[in-house]
Amino acid sequence: MKNEENLAYFLNEAKTIKTGSLEKKLRVAFLASFTINGFEETMRVKCKKKKIECMTYVGDYNQYNQEILENDSKFYRFKPELTFLILDVRHILGELFFYPYSLSVSEREDFVKNKIREITNLIRMIIKNSGSRVILTELQIPTYSPYGISDQNEKVGVKEIVREINIGIKHEVKDELLISILDFNQFIQRYGEQNIFNYNQFFSGDIKISIEYIPKFVDEMMRYVTAITGTTKKCIVLDLDNTLWGGVVGEDGFENIKLGDDPIGRSFVEFQKRLLALNQRGIILAINSKNNFDDAIKVVKEHPNMILREENFGCIKINWNDKVTNLYEISRELNIGLDSFVFFDDDPINREFIKKQLEQVLVIDLPSDSAKFAHVLTEMNVFESLKITDEDVKRKDMYLGQRKRVEFEHKIGDINEFLKQMNIQVTIKEADNFLVPRISQLTLKTNQFNLTTKRYQQEQISSFSDDKNYVVECIEVSDKFGNNGITGAYIIKKKETEWIIDTFLLSCRIIGRGVEDAMLSQLIERAKRENIKKIKGEFIPTAKNKPAENFYKEFGFKEEENFWVFDTEQTIKKVEHIKMVKNE
């Protein structure tokens, strides 16, 4: 294992972290039934690398029950946003771990039911007392039974006891927004029980995840941090020659590149299939290749074994420009920040170039062996979302539409004429159970056109929308090239004579078409109908929201102390080229 990956490195590195310098912050608590030294240090270091300041609380050794049950415990006073509850199978099963058949079948069934109830009650208690999101580590399924091969024939055998507890809990909590289950058995399958569990460490210090594998386990935990903090990656930028196929098309020719029918060719097909699956769940793909356009695009369009086709790419740059220039262009055309990009290129020189020039981009150190490409991709864990929404799945089509829009804009030339011909329709939708996850996702991910950049988890959005004093709505934008999906949202606090804009945001791919003005106009007109005198909004500057800086001013808001204020008697901007529809 490399030095930067072992626990000694993380323990020492954690001592050097200074607090207070990073914008993103997260409070994480660890409650466990065994020794988890090293977990919090490793997580703080890994968070720092993602530019997140992680503050941690580690519960006392095996005191999780008391800490959860006492509503004034140190754990609750810490005010966690994210809590990892790590219970291990030996602890939960107790003596039953060794002597599962000391109980009768019906006693074992009762045991399973009781444990499901106990554990789900604990999780619900945490949420009730703290509002923290809870990640429960599922129990490890034992690989040994005193009954040997006949354990499989037993009714409620030892493995089944554990499996049933895991499934039972998962079933109980599946509709709860704040609970996720960490798939511990998948972790063990990947690295092997004999590596993860070290008897010497266990007997010496009740260490149940071996020291060597603690950093790997924290990687699993980090997937939740990625999803919650919205630091997930959105786009994979790919080279072509020796990255998506073997060989160089310009030299070897269309017929001789390796793709499909030989061992090397199969490795590229496998890689492409993994990429296509990510594309289907909403990760954008783009090409950044130094090549003769006609040679390279012919492979993409016509090669019989090509898996990824033109329509799978949201942006295609095949030219002789340098890769940094191309990446900037891709970022601009897709309207995605550079820190949301992953860069795949077989050429180490290109990689170094990007690393040096664009340090926000995640550059993958591809091994020279193409057989490992698919594996590198599936081990990355940077495309994380707690729930895949319909918008995610539809996103690839939206970016395809976006590509066509850009082409149409170039063709028309005049911006006003272009907007007129686009037939833009904006549909206002009130938040409901289906829309809450998407609205939350928008608040977490939208950086540029975001007036206040307040980040809200699903349950916070839910509670706003249940509150009569709030308006929580989102907008769906469509035009002649298709539906852009739910791409804007706002949260309004209603007071007697004024409305306060808590949140107002628009996804970057919609900016510049007048949608933001149309959204605000209908809101103000509505306020006026309800006899509201004033609309108040705030602009909270961040490193990224400059595009929204002058929005209120240009709309006609007047500055008053820290707020921008619009008097509903003023003339309200009309956006002629957009048709507004209210979905009741």
Binding site: M1, N6, L7, A8, L11, N12, K15, T35, N37, G38, Y199, N200, Q201, F203, S204, G205, I207, S210, I211, E212
Partner: protein
């Protein structure tokens, strides 16, 4: 002759190399605690490709004791 071992101890306990000798123990090295001792063992086992028995690890009271184990396992640690 103990450079490689001392290097590992220095790295894991995050202390200067010149503070480490065969008599280093939890008594004179406050950075040595019960948990990072396991981290040290794990590093040593990986680095020298050896696995100590539980009772052997319990016998380690100072760095010199690790060298005794090296002799037992025929490990040279120049």
């Amino acid at each position: 002759m103990s450079k490689k071992l001392y290097d590992i101890v220095s790295k894991v306990f995050n202390v200067n190399l010149d503070r480490i000798n065969d008599d280093s123990s939890p008594e004179n090295l406050e950075e040595w605690d019960s948990f990072n001792f396991y981290v040290l063992l794990d590093e040593i086992e990986n680095e020298f490709d050896v696995k100590f028995d539980l009772d052997e690890t319990l016998e380690i009271k100072k760095i010199g004791d690790i060298k005794k184990l090296f002799v037992k396992y025929g490990i040279r640690c120049e």
